[in-house]
């Protein structure tokens, strides 16, 4: 992979939660594992020596069970959580070690984030919510409202500008969340289990919507998920996390064909069995059609 199409690179990132992370880091360097550290010091290792890079214009899915460190990982990218050790580069610029002011700038311009809980502001209208990031960045009212309207029409919410979040359904609220992140025109879109709180039909509709938007805009998306079907459907590449470690990265096909360990295999086993059911269900009406 050439460096030109690498947009985000993560090198040997660790995150240790607890009162004295440096001590725990020292133990990790000497070869202790996370269970040992937890039993001896009470520190929790959230992310353990993660290194990978994300390519420009791809949907990169980080997948794992709850507690595997995937939500921590995505917060390290915009430093909502400070990494204990390691470095992260965005477009060749080091994110770790930025001054507070430069970090605010990165959050305002380079990274948009969508949350599982939507996290819309209840006291703001849909339009104000969508323009929130721009307002924070000091964009004038006329411009931010026109950009917010554009983002709302991209997610299919034109005409709802003056509604309030509590008047919308979950799916619509998350569309607002997505529009809020898109309005800033970020380099990278971070989506933390963005569709997990939605019911299956709406979820698959939103996945389709996201894929359409990504195809149109060629935006780099980092998507956190615990749902293997979602990961395979939308992901160009998938990273699988287990207990804070990234155990395998690859295209969905590569992961299915050559799982790195039993954990990965177990993920795909549930997927395969569900797929077979789905294909059986799909093929029945086809057969009946062909008979006529």
């Amino acid at each position: 992979m050439s460096h030109a199409d690498e947009i985000l690179s993560v090198n040997n990132i660790f995150k240790v939660f607890g009162p004295n992370p440096n001590m725990a880091m020292e133990m990790l360097r000497k070869g202790a594992d996370k269970n040992e550290i937890f039993s001896k010091t009470g520190h929790v290792v959230g992310v353990f020596d993660a290194s990978f890079s994300v390519k420009r214009g791809e949907i990169f899915v980080i997948m794992g069970l709850s507690g595997s460190g995937k939500s921590t990982m995505v917060r390290l990218f915009n430093r909502l959580i400070e990494p204990t050790s390691g470095s992260i580069h965005l477009n060749g610029r080091e994110i770790t070690g930025l001054s507070d002011k430069a970090l605010l700038d990165v959050r305002r311009k380079e990274m948009g984030m969508v949350f599982q809980s939507f996290a819309l502001m209840p006291h703001m209208s849909v339009l104000q919510n969508t323009a929130f990031g721009l307002e924070i960045a000091g964009v004038g009212e006329a411009e931010r409202h026109s950009r917010a309207r554009e983002a709302l029409s991209q997610v299919g919410l034109a005409g709802h500008e003056h509604s309030y979040p509590h008047q919308l359904s979950g799916g619509m609220q998350q569309r607002v969340g997505l529009a809020r992140a898109l309005a800033n025109d970020p380099t990278i879109l971070l989506m933390d289990e963005a569709f997990s709180a939605l019911d299956p039909l709406i979820r698959s509709e939103m996945q389709g919507e996201l894929m359409r938007l990504q195809a149109e805009q060629q935006r780099t998306i980092i998507f956190i998920s615990h749902d293997i079907e979602e990961a395979i459907r939308i992901g160009h590449r998938i990273a699988i996390m287990e207990g804070g470690r990234v155990v395998q990265i690859g295209t969905p096909q590569a992961l299915i064909n050559q799982p790195a360990n039993d954990y990965v295999r177990a993920f795909f086993k549930t997927f395969n069995s569900r797929c077979q059911c789905a294909s059986l269900a799909n093929s029945a009406p086809l057969q009946s059609l062909s008979r006529h």
Binding site: L80, A119, M121, P122, H123, I136
Partner: protein, 317 residues
């Protein structure tokens, strides 16, 4: 002085706390007169301003304005309540005293808000500061008012201004506590989202935390108002005027009529203020899509004046 005895050591061994306090107070009075005068000044100005305004508004106009305000804040039933309570105040003959009490209460609430809301905000940001302030607030609330009436009189004299001061001491804690609580209770995911979009701490406060804490802060303001109202009665002992003075005189002379009139006046005033501020609090948590200027008398006036325009704008909204 008697012999020292192990069984009752306190005959001989005592700490002269009372003497110390007296000495300290004397020292303060002699050396810091200017400081206390400087503290009196802003309170004096605000109190006189409010009292002059309230006393110079004729009762009929006052009742009408309050009813309109009640209508604006919470609809026609509130307007009726304001009208009835204030009219009764006039009918039992305590309009002027009520206005004095109202001025005292409003002045204390004003200073409580000026001190208490920023203090609550700072407490919400720092656990250490909160752990220092909290016992202080406890002390302010539990200390019997009579205990600090005396030093306040020595330092500030008697009259309405020291009365406002003791009222502030008593009424401040709930506002600080509830402002602190309101800001701490803002959901974590909203805070995180605001951080993710690059909020500075200041933007976080003004765009996210304060708007989401408004209804809790309003509840604190309501509590502060109620406590000030109960305190101005006790403060009448240091010659604070108004309804409290009537009650105190009534008790002193065993004049049940006078005391009852004062007491009923206080209750009417309390109902009026309580309902009004609760309505304000309810507004802040109500449907934000309904603008205040679309309802009440202002809404009516707007609709009548620019009928076509306003209606058109509302339909699109």
């Amino acid at each position: 002085m008697s012999e020292f005895s192990l069984l009752d050591p306190f005959q001989a061994a005592t700490i002269p706390l009372g003497d110390w306090v007296t000495a300290t107070l004397n020292f303060l009075v002699h050396n810091f007169r200017e400081v206390f005068r400087a503290i009196r000044w802003p309170i004096d100005q605000v109190l006189n301003g409010i009292e002059f305004t309230l006393q110079s508004i004729p009762p009929t106009i006052g009742i009408l304005l309050s009813s309109l305000l009640g209508w604006q804040l919470a609809g026609k039933r509130m307007a009726l309540l304001c009208f009835v309570t204030l009219t009764l105040l006039g009918l039992i003959g305590v309009w002027s005293e009520s206005m004095t009490t109202l001025a005292l209460v409003l002045t204390s609430v004003f200073f409580c808000a000026v001190i208490g809301i920023p203090l609550g905000i700072v407490c919400a940001r720092s656990n250490r500061l909160e752990s220092i302030i909290r016992p202080l607030l406890d002390a302010m609330q539990t200390l019997p008012a009579f205990v600090y009436l005396v030093p306040v009189v020595m330092l500030f004299g008697i009259g309405n201004v020291p009365g406002v001061l003791v009222t502030i001491v008593f009424a401040l804690p709930p506002l600080v506590r509830l402002t602190n609580l309101g800001i701490r209770q803002v959901p974590e995911d909203k805070i995180e989202a605001a951080r993710a979009f690059g909020c500075t701490p200041r933007q976080m406060l003004t765009r996210v935390q304060l708007p989401l804490a408004t209804s809790t802060i309003m509840a604190g303001l309501n509590q502060t108002l109620m406590l000030s109202l109960s305190m101005v009665v006790i403060a009448s002992m240091i010659s604070v005027g108004g309804l409290g003075q009537m009650v105190l005189r009534g008790i002193g002379r065993l004049d049940m009529g006078l005391a009852t009139v004062g007491g009923v006046g206080l209750v009417l005033l309390a109902i009026f203020l309580d309902r009004l501020t609760q309505a304000m609090g309810a507004r802040s948590s109500a449907d934000p899509s309904l603008r205040w200027y679309h309802t009440g008398p202002v809404g009516v006036v707007l609709r009548l004046s620019g009928a076509g325009q306003a209606a058109g704008r509302r339909k699109t909204a």
